[in-house]
C-alpha cells in the first residue's frame, strides 16, 4: 500500500510540470516563463551590463572591432566590407533578432505559423494576401538578382553568416522575450530573408492602390460627379519638380488601346473584393539647401522618413568604417548597409515617390479549377503555385494561386481578401515589385559615393519602391531624383481595373531612367520632396493623382523664404507643427458657421478654434476641435452619396473637398440627396459643428481635449502589447505638419547633415538600440524625440578607439 502515496505524489508532480510546461491559449508555459534561469528574468538586463567581449569567428577574414558609445550605438571598424557586413549581421541579430524574423515572417505570409489563424481568421487572411500578391515569388526573383551581383552576393552571404553566428550560439535562456511569450524558437537566417525584408519595404511604400474603390466609384457615379469627387489635378499642389521644368519628349510614347472608351472608361462593373492595405501614411520629408542659402556656405541635407513608430524601432543606428568607406546612418535590421545617412563626401535621404505601380486585370477562368483563363480568344494555361500556410495549433492551409501573363490572380472565388461576399470575378495583380531587381545595390554603391555621378549611378539600381532621393555633397552640389522603375502609362491607365482578355492594357514599357524627373543645383538653391505629385501636366507620362499636398507646400514655402540657414533653423523646421491644411480649411468653417444657432457651450468651443494659431502644438485645443469638426463636415457632405452602397469605396481626399468649397460654396455634394430640401453650405457646416460638440465636450471632460492627449502618440510594440509600448507621448504635429507625428506613425528617424569639412550631423529616433523590452536601451531616445531634441552624431575616427566616450568594445578575432 505504500506504493499508493508515491504513485499519487508522482502523478501530482508530473502533472504539475506538464501544466506549467504547456501553453494554454495565450498564456506561455508558466514554469518555463518564470524560471529565473530560463525564462523572462533572463531578459531583465542589468543596468550595469558590460557589453565588452572578445569573440572569435573563423568566418571572418581579419580582426575587427566594434566600439559602443553610451547609447549603445555601435561603431564598426573593419578592414574589409565582408567582415563589416558579417559584424553588422551579428549585431542586428544580437540586438534585434525577434523583430527581424517577425517582419520577414509577415512578408512571407507566415504570421499564422506564430500567432495562429487569429480572430476572424485575420492572420490567415493576411498571410494569404501576402502569398497571393507574390511577396515570396518576388523575393525569390530578387534573390536571383542579388546573387548575380558579386558585391551584393558577397555582402549578403557575410551578413547572413553573421546573423546565423548569433542564432546558432543562442541558448534557450538567451532567447528574446517575445519568443518566450509566444513559445517558439528562431530559425536560421538566409539571403532569401534579406530579399523578403526588401519586399516588405516595397509593400509598405509601393503596395498601395485604390483601383477597386475607384472602379466602384466609376460604376456608381456619373462622369461629371466622378471628376468632381476625384479630380486628377489639385490646384494647390506644389510638385517636387517645379512647374517651370522642361522635359524631354517621351522616349516611350504610349497610347491607350482602341477599346479604352468602351471596355475601360465606360465599363460599369463593380468589385466586391477588399484588399488588405499597407499604411497609406507611409511617406516622409526630405530637403537639401545649397551653400548659397546657408550661413556656412555649405549644403545642409535633412530627412525624416515617416513609418510606423514601432518598438523595436524599424531603424538601427550605426557607423561602419572600412578602408574603402566610412558611413554613418540608420540601417534596417534584416538587411546589410546603411540606408539613410552619409559618408565622408556626401549625404542622402529618401521619401516615397508614391507612384501607382500596382494594377489589376480582370480574368475569366474557364471553370472552377482555375487552370485556364481567356486570353487573346483562346484558353491559356495558368501556372499554379501551391502555397502551404502553417497554422499554429491547426492543420496547414493549402492555397492554390493561378499565375497568368499579368501576374498572380490575387482575388478570385477562393479568396476575396477582407470581403465576405462570394464572387465569380477574378483579378490578377501586376506589381512592379515582382519584376527582377536588386535594390540592395543602391546602398552598396552609395556607401562609397564621392560625387553626383556616383550618386546618380547608385540610385539607378532602385526599381521598387520608387523614391525621391535627395543628395548633397561637401563639394556644394545638391540634387534630387525621383528614381524607380516606373511604367510608362497613358492617361488614367491603371486607375481602374483593366480588361485582362488580351495584352492591349498591359504596361507598354518602363520609363527610361534618364527620363525620370530630377534636379541638380537648381536656381532656387534648394531641393525637397514630401510625397507630393512629382510634376505638373508638362511631364509626358501619366503620374496618377493620389498624392498629399500640404507638407510639400509648407516645406517649399519656408525654404523659398529662408536665407543664411543654420542647423538650428533646420531643426526648427523639421519639428514644425504648423498645419497648412488647417490654414486653408478653417476659413471655410469660420465663414459659414451660423453663430446664431449655437448654444453658449458651443460658442465657447468656437472661440477656441477661432483663437487657434494653426499650430498643432501639444497643449492646443484648436487642432482637436478642427479635426472633429472637419470630419463631421466630410461625413455630412459625403455620407448620403456613399451610403447607398456597401461596396468598397474611397472617400474623396481632404484636399478635394477644401479646394472645391473654396472655389464654390454651392458644391454639388453639399446637398443631402436623401432630403427633399437643398442644403446650403452654411447649414451643413453648422450642423457638422453641432454634431462634433458632444465629442469635443466628452474629450474635455476626460481631459483629452489637448491635441497631444487626443492624438495619443505611441511608440508601439510590433505585437501591439501596451506593456512593451510607450504610450501617451506628449508630442504635437500631425498628418499635414512637417512634424508628421500621428498616433502610431510618424518621423521614424530625424536626420540633419551639415556638409562641412568634418561633417556635423544630428539625429534622433523614437526608440533605442536594443530591441529588448527588459533593457534600459530599449527606449533611450524617445523623450528627446518627443521634445524635438537631437543628438549629435559621433563619426568616430580611427584614433578615437580609446576615447572616453567609448563605453564598451567588442573585439572580433578570426
Amino acid at each position: 500500500m505504500r506504493i499508493v502515496p508515491f504513485f499519487l505524489s508522482f502523478l501530482l508532480t508530473v502533472g504539475l510540470i506538464f501544466v506549467l510546461n504547456t501553453q494554454w491559449g495565450a498564456v506561455p508555459p508558466v514554469g518555463k516563463f518564470l524560471s529565473p534561469q530560463h525564462g523572462c528574468w533572463q531578459n531583465a538586463e542589468s543596468v550595469d551590463k558590460d557589453f565588452s567581449a572578445t569573440l572569435s569567428f573563423p568566418d571572418l577574414k581579419e580582426k575587427a572591432r566594434v566600439c559602443f558609445d553610451e547609447h549603445l550605438i555601435p561603431h564598426i571598424f573593419a578592414s574589409n566590407e565582408e567582415d563589416a557586413c558579417y559584424i553588422q549581421g551579428y549585431l542586428h541579430a544580437k540586438f534585434r533578432l525577434w523583430q527581424m524574423e517577425f517582419q520577414t515572417h509577415a512578408a512571407a505570409g507566415r504570421l499564422s505559423e506564430i500567432l495562429g489563424a487569429g480572430p476572424g481568421n485575420g492572420y490567415l487572411k493576411y498571410d494569404r494576401e501576402m502569398r497571393r500578391l507574390g511577396m515570396v515569388y518576388g523575393a525569390e526573383k530578387t534573390l536571383l538578382e542579388i546573387e548575380k551581383d558579386s558585391t551584393t552576393k558577397k555582402d549578403c552571404d557575410a551578413y547572413t553568416a553573421g546573423v546565423n553566428a548569433w542564432i546558432s550560439n543562442l541558448k534557450e535562456s538567451d532567447l528574446p522575450i517575445e519568443y518566450k511569450l509566444l513559445n517558439y524558437r528562431p530559425e536560421p537566417w538566409s539571403n532569401l530573408k534579406i530579399a523578403l525584408f526588401m519586399k516588405n519595404m516595397a509593400y509598405d511604400l509601393a503596395g498601395s492602390d485604390e483601383d477597386f474603390e475607384l472602379t466602384n466609384a466609376k460604376a456608381l457615379f456619373s462622369k461629371e460627379d466622378f471628376a468632381k469627387l476625384y479630380p486628377t489635378r489639385q490646384d494647390s499642389a506644389d510638385p517636387v519638380f517645379p512647374r517651370s521644368m522642361a522635359y524631354l519628349s517621351p522616349g516611350l510614347p504610349v497610347k491607350a488601346p482602341a477599346t479604352a472608351d468602351s471596355l475601360y472608361f465606360n465599363n460599369t462593373d463593380s468589385v466586391t473584393v477588399r484588399e488588405v492595405k499597407p499604411e497609406k501614411n507611409n511617406g516622409s520629408n526630405n530637403w537639401a539647401v545649397s551653400g548659397k542659402k546657408t550661413q556656412s556656405g555649405r549644403p545642409i541635407l535633412c530627412n525624416d522618413p515617416h513609418l510606423g513608430t514601432n518598438l523595436p524601432s524599424i531603424w538601427y543606428e550605426m557607423q561602419i568604417r572600412t578602408p574603402e568607406f566610412n558611413t554613418y546612418g540608420v540601417s534596417f535590421p534584416g538587411a546589410p548597409y546603411i540606408v539613410i545617412g552619409f559618408n565622408d563626401s556626401c549625404a542622402w535621404g529618401i521619401t516615397n515617390a508614391g507612384r501607382d505601380v500596382r494594377d489589376y486585370y480582370s480574368i475569366h477562368f474557364k471553370d472552377t479549377t482555375r487552370r485556364e483563363y481567356r486570353f487573346k480568344g483562346d484558353w491559356k494555361a495558368a501556372d499554379q503555385r501551391i502555397e502551404t500556410i502553417k497554422i499554429r495549433g491547426e492543420a496547414d492551409f493549402i492555397d492554390i494561386v493561378s499565375y497568368t501573363v499579368f501576374g498572380p490572380v490575387m482575388y478570385d472565388r477562393t479568396f476575396t481578401g477582407l470581403s465576405t461576399t462570394p464572387t465569380e470575378q477574378a483579378y490578377a495583380v501586376h506589381w512592379s515589385a515582382n519584376d527582377p531587381s536588386n535594390e540592395l545595390a543602391v546602398f552598396s554603391h552609395l556607401r562609397s559615393a564621392k560625387n553626383y555621378d556616383d550618386y546618380k549611378h547608385a540610385i539607378r539600381y532602385l526599381s521598387t519602391p520608387g523614391q525621391n532621393i535627395v543628395f548633397a555633397a561637401k563639394s556644394g552640389d545638391i540634387a534630387i531624383w525621383q528614381q524607380g522603375q516606373f511604367p510608362a502609362k497613358w492617361k488614367e491607365q491603371g486607375a481602374f481595373v483593366m480588361p485582362g482578355t488580351d495584352s492591349s492594357y498591359m504596361w507598354q514599357g518602363n520609363i527610361p531612367a534618364d527620363e525620370n524627373p530630377y534636379m541638380l543645383n537648381p536656381d532656387r538653391n534648394f531641393v525637397s520632396s514630401a510625397n507630393q505629385l512629382a510634376s505638373d501636366t508638362s511631364y509626358p507620362y501619366f503620374l496618377g493623382s493620389s498624392y498629399p499636398i500640404y507638407r510639400g507646400k509648407i516645406i517649399n514655402r519656408k525654404l523659398e523664404k529662408y536665407n543664411s540657414i543654420t542647423v538650428k533653423d533646420m531643426i526648427n523646421m523639421q519639428t514644425d507643427n504648423y498645419d497648412l491644411f488647417a490654414e486653408m480649411a478653417r476659413p471655410i468653417l469660420l465663414k459659414y458657421i451660423d453663430v446664431s444657432q449655437l448654444s453658449p457651450d458651443e460658442q465657447k468651443y468656437l472661440g477656441m478654434i477661432r483663437a487657434w494659431r494653426l499650430r498643432n502644438d501639444p497643449e492646443e485645443r484648436g487642432p482637436t476641435i478642427f479635426k472633429l469638426w472637419w470630419s463631421k463636415l466630410e461625413k455630412g457632405i459625403f455620407d448620403d452619396e456613399f451610403s447607398v452602397t456597401t461596396l468598397p469605396m474611397m472617400r474623396p481626399y481632404e484636399s478635394t473637398l477644401v479646394e472645391a468649397l473654396l472655389k464654390d460654396s454651392a458644391y454639388k455634394f453639399v446637398d443631402n440627396i436623401h432630403t427633399p430640401g437643398k442644403e446650403t453650405l452654411a447649414q451643413v457646416v453648422t450642423e457638422a459643428f453641432k454634431n462634433a460638440v458632444p465629442e469635443i465636450a466628452q474629450a474635455e471632460k476626460e481631459d483629452r481635449l489637448e491635441w497631444a492627449k487626443y492624438k495619443d502618440t505611441w511608440a508601439r510594440h510590433l505585437l501591439r502589447l501596451p506593456a512593451f509600448s510607450r504610450m501617451h507621448l506628449p508630442i504635437g504635429g500631425g498628418t499635414h505638419s512637417i512634424n508628421a507625428a500621428k498616433q502610431f506613425h510618424g518621423p521614424s528617424w530625424r536626420m540633419i547633415v551639415h556638409l562641412t569639412n568634418k561633417t556635423e550631423a544630428y539625429g534622433v529616433f523614437p526608440g533605442g538600440e536594443s530591441g529588448n523590452p527588459g533593457s534600459p536601451y530599449y527606449d533611450t531616445f524617445i523623450d528627446h524625440w518627443v521634445e524635438g531634441k537631437y543628438y549629435p552624431l559621433w563619426v568616430m575616427e580611427q584614433d578615437e578607439l580609446k576615447d572616453k566616450r567609448v563605453k564598451w568594445t567588442m573585439i572580433f578575432n578570426k
Binding site: R2, I3, P5, F6, S9, F10, L12, T13, L16, I17, L20, N21, V30, G31, K32, L34, S35, P36, Q37, H38, G39, C40, W41, Q42, N43, A44, E45, S46, V47, D48, E172, I177, L181, L721, P722, A723, F724, P773, G774, S775, P776, Y778
Partner: protein, 114 residues
C-alpha cells in the same frame, strides 16, 4: 538539522540543474535530495517548497534589482498582476516552490518504498 541541510542541498542542486537542464530540473533535484535525506513526507514537502521559494525568490529579486525593475513592471502588466514587480517575484517563487515541494514529496515516498 536534516531539515536545514535538505533545504540547502535542494536549493544548490536546483541551481546547478538550471545551468544544464530545462526548468523542471528543479524537480529532479528536489526528488533526488529527498531520496538521499530521509524525512517525514510533510517535512520533505516543506523542504522542497522552502528551498525553491527561497532560490527562485532570491534569484528573481536579485535580477530585478539589478534591472531597476524595468522588465518586471512590464511582465506584471502582461500577466494579470497589475504591474506589481513584487507580486511577480512572489508568483515566481511560488511556482518554483510548488514544483519543488511536490517533487520532494514524491522523493520521500520513493525513499519509503525502497
Amino acid at each position: 538539522m536534516k531539515f536545514i541541510v535538505s533545504i540547502l542541498l535542494i536549493a544548490l542542486l536546483s541551481f546547478l540543474s538550471g545551468l544544464y537542464l530545462p526548468w523542471w530540473g528543479i524537480a529532479l533535484a528536489a526528488a533526488l535530495i529527498s531520496v538521499l535525506i530521509q524525512q517525514r513526507p510533510g517535512m520533505a514537502f516543506l523542504s522542497g517548497f522552502l528551498a525553491l521559494l527561497l532560490l527562485w525568490g532570491a534569484m528573481a529579486w536579485g535580477i530585478d534589482g539589478a534591472n531597476n525593475s524595468i522588465l518586471s513592471k512590464k511582465i506584471a502588466l502582461i500577466l494579470p498582476l497589475g504591474g506589481n514587480s513584487l507580486l511577480l517575484i512572489l508568483v515566481t517563487a511560488l511556482v518554483g516552490a510548488l514544483v519543488g515541494g511536490s517533487a520532494a514529496l514524491t522523493g520521500s515516498y520513493l525513499k519509503k518504498l525502497l
